[in-house]
Amino acid sequence: MSITTSSKSHVAQHVQKIPRSGIRDFFDIVQSMSDVISLSIGEPDFVTPWHIREAAIYALERGKTGYTSNLGTPSLRKQISAYIAAKHKVVYDWQTEILVAVGVSEALDIALRAILNPGDEVLYHEPCYVSYSPSVTLAYGKPVAITTKQSDNFVLRADDIRKALTPKTRALMMNFPCNPTGAVMPREELEKIAQLCIEHDLIVLSDEIYCELSYSGALPSIIEIPGMKERTIYFNGFSKAYAMTGFRIGYVCAPPVLTEAMLRVHQYAMLCAPILSQEAAAEALKNGESAMLHMRDEYRRRRNFLVHHFNKMGLTCHEPQGAFYLFPNITSTALTSREFAVRLLEEKKVAMVPGDAFGTSGEGFVRCSYATAMDQLEVAVERIADFVKSR
């Protein structure tokens, strides 16, 4: 028997359990059509600012083409340390508490693999980023979803976490500002969650990749709360704030013991992040703020524009305070998320991701990314309004 005919038995059981991503299904349909306005893209529509691209070119010209330290270049780690100290008043030692990874995706993977024993439960909020549940499964953990609600602006509540706790709960994964809901966390709730995590000795994985894209001032991080730096793995990166998705640079900050544990996984699985991307990331932190603020202003205007139009057409939508996603409720059309997305695509050629791709609690919603130019958004809202009216 060949491997192809008996493939099932050759695929590990825990991999078999992972469902195909709902986004990929939808991607296949969109890809087969032309003239589609896509509001289903999770990356900035801006090109990486020129000075950052230029830094990568300069590094290439100087022949910077080798490996770096497993942890990442010292200059980048020092800058990350300074950046977090300025932003959150929390100091991470660049030598022992910071690791540069290939995007936050890799960082999440090595963190889960570093901390979980088989069967450990990891709590996370849903709707959430598509990789959360599978990453936990791949690390032999058990993902446990906590539903957040539109009526509560998709905030994660300490009371709901408490209800999901079991003796096997090991960690809590959070992503605020949140993809796909755009939700942010109020400081009081973070404090309650921190208290709970200390009481129950949980590790917090806080994915703050969208933290710079906040439309209501600087956002609190759980690492700022006393006692939390010691039990938090903090994730951030360059993809969203500096429009650098293809550079694949993220980083993780954690107490030395956890950083060392993640380093063990990272050094054998990845060795190090690409040096050119690290050079570009260092330039982004050094001189990228004004370009980043300019992009953020632009996102905020688009958000205002879209929230206005979605609410006007009867797809209720809370005003997201961060990231570049809207998560409108489409139940008024009496369609499921998937029906809505597919018919809108077929009839009006506008693509939005069905909410159930972000967990079962995303049913009844679609994710609308506003990382698309304003003139496209204007056409898109007209088409969506037509579609909704015709229901």
Binding site: I23, S38, I41, D297
Partner: protein, 159 residues
Amino acid sequence: MQEILDILEQDALATPEKISQMVKLPVEEVRRRVRQLEEDKIIVGYKTIIDDDKADRKLVKALIEVKITPERDGGFNRLAARIAKYDEVKTCYLMSGGYDLLVIVEGTDLKQVATFVSEKLATINGVLSTATHFMLKAYKEQGTLYKLEQFEERLKVSP
């Protein structure tokens, strides 16, 4: 105000309705503020950026370095204003360094620009010398980069 200016600077055609939705202000308020900006001459005018090559407009542009003699009471201002008044002059700056005024002149052909320089500009009392540089090609105009390379390969759907 700053936000409205930012939007109009990028897109002079943005309607008050669209701006109002982008900045969360009532349409009437946006109209009032834009009018105020116009009255205060903060918004000086609205123009269109044209790719002259594509429009097949055979315009010749020259950048002219002008040395002038400052006057006892007015410094450079009176003479600069006099030069700036010519329709051919699109831009006029007072500069530090090796010359005094940087003048950008536009004409329909080389001869017209040359004539302007030799017969008008150079003969003005107080103008000591001119050095004319003709522009060959525009790569970026008023912050807008003419498309040199097009790269639109974002995936249509991504997580």
